[in-house]
Symmetry: C2
Subunit: 322 residues, 2 copies
């Protein structure tokens, strides 16, 4: 039977979103459950497979018409199909997620991490259509990456390649990162990293006027910095400049590695538009080896934000072996 549909699952720390997707990247039907509701993964998977059955029925699609299920999960390993030691999920250790779900719903399941799913989504439906070499950088609570070389996702020998949020940008006196090391890109350029930058700036420049000072320091978020910058607040604009400059420095090194046609920004921070893109572009070009200058495209994801994670995961469904 022809199999013109896939299912995408985006497993987030809070919500798990599921969509039934057709070949053109249209989401026919979607729904969600709370990821953290079940402390036992078995119970979670029962609820998840119930949702999948409902959505398939609701989309008036037959189960036999579904090519595969793709899931993007924190710490998802493509090679093993397992979620391995994900700090933000309720289930500890190694969870053979793909196999467990496949056993329940009878459709083959492939799994990878969120950032790799985003890269596959960009290649299949988004800004990277037709490209064979590009990098997706996800800017959110953390900083992730999905790398494509010769038209293929880079998984590495163990499935864990593409941890570009954890290259070292400041080798001495760098900020402590959630990974336990210091100076990682993520510690500066994630949403939480930007909020830390704001607190540092407020401490170091007590005489500078800024409306960020009206917010209790521990409550400042990257959203507050964004709102202030959009209103012309100088310190807030400098925080975006600092963040973008460091991303540009990092991108110049990434380009020396794989010489991609484009670097695509995805996720929360990328909503800041020129506020973040202009300093990235200036800093990246300034830091590039001459042979790479003025030829790497910098772009935002053009997938509709609310759908992007599910679409990205669903694209992996086309690749499953059935």
């Amino acid at each position: 039977m022809d199999k013109p549909y896939v299912i995408g699952i985006d497993v987030g720390g809070t919500n798990t979103v599921v969509g039934v997707v057709d070949k053109r990247g249209q989401i026919l039907k979607s729904g969600s459950i709370k990821t953290g509701k079940h402390s036992q993964v078995e119970n979670y998977l029962d609820e998840l497979s119930g949702l999948i059955e409902d959505l398939v029925t609701g989309a008036t699609v037959k189960k036999e018409q579904i090519k595969g299920i793709g899931a993007g999960t924190p710490n998802g390993n493509y090679f093993t199909g397992s979620i391995e030691f994900a700090p933000n999920l309720p289930w500890k250790g190694v969870i053979p997620f793909a196999q467990l779900l496949e056993d329940k719903v009878g459709i083959p399941v492939a799994l990878t991490n969120d950032a790799n799913a985003a890269a596959i989504g960009e290649m299949t439906y988004g800004a990277a259509r037709g490209m064979k070499d590009f990098i997706v950088i996800t800017l959110g609570t953390g900083v992730g990456s999905g790398i494509v070389v010769n038209g293929q996702l880079v998984y590495g020998h163990d499935g864990f390649a593409g941890e570009l949020g954890h290259v070292i940008m400041r080798r001495h006196n760098g900020r402590l990162c959630g990974c336990g090391r210091t100076g990682c890109l993520e510690a500066y350029t994630s949403a939480t990293g930007m909020a830390r930058t704001a607190r540092e700036y407020l401490d170091l420049r007590p005489e500078d006027k800024t409306r960020l000072r009206d917010i209790p320091a521990e409550d400042i978020s990257s959203k507050d910095v964004f709102d202030a910058a959009m209103d012309g607040d100088e310190m807030a604009k400098e925080i975006f400049k600092f963040t973008g400059e460091m991303l540009g420095e990092a991108f110049a090194d990434f380009i020396a590695f794989s010489s991609p046609e484009a670097i695509i920004l995805f996720g929360g921070l990328s909503k800041a538009g020129d506020l973040i893109m202009n300093p990235i572009r200036t800093s990246m070009e300034k830091n590039l080896l001459p042979i790479f200058q003025n030829k790497v495209k910098l772009m935002f994801s053009d997938l509709k934000e609310s759908d992007a994670a599910v679409l990205g995961a669903s694209a992996l469904g086309w690749e499953v072996k059935s």
Copy 2:
């Protein structure tokens, strides 16, 4: 006709070495000419094609039995077959080397840069046989790299990927690099970078005893540092430690990118054995994200040094389209 032979050409700044190679990586016949003798590339190619004819005859091989010619050259671009703006060669601008040579000898020619040729050589005949994800780092006058992902060389969208000698290791007050930027890995860990480290140490520690002080500072080479370290000279050993530690830091970032099964050291400095490998290993493991610790192999090339460049280039000959 069966084509069980290839020809490898290693174009260096001083010598061009040519070898006729069989399927097992045996060099049946080899010879060389001076690269810098001819200011016109046409004259150089006349001499080169003459040498190729002689070697083929000398090896009692028929031209029709040769699958292809592979050349490793400075600034060689695999996609275009050209040598592009190579600073150490007498011919300026863009030289369509592969096409020019193919027109002269009537055998298809493929070309890439020296470090990529080394990586293909390791994959075909050397330490990386059977591996699909690895990185070769060439440590010589400069620092180069050849990266393999999913069993394929990473060329990037323009053929220039793999410039890992030019990732930035010191972002502030870094050493000036030959590329015009500051703080590049190559400025510290190439043979010339090591000699600079020696001169810095001698300046900064005037009271330290070391036999490196017996050599005029401007004449110190990495070989002098190696000889002194082998004799137990403390400062010389520290210079190797400094160099190895920086390589280890860089390797940890490379692993976060492509999660290779192995990193293979190739070229002059790699002859230093444990002197360089021990500090690399310690520093690399210390700087790795936990998920990558204790699983990436660090190895030296096991290709016979004098043959390695020609063998690496020759391996590209198997890939030419004829």
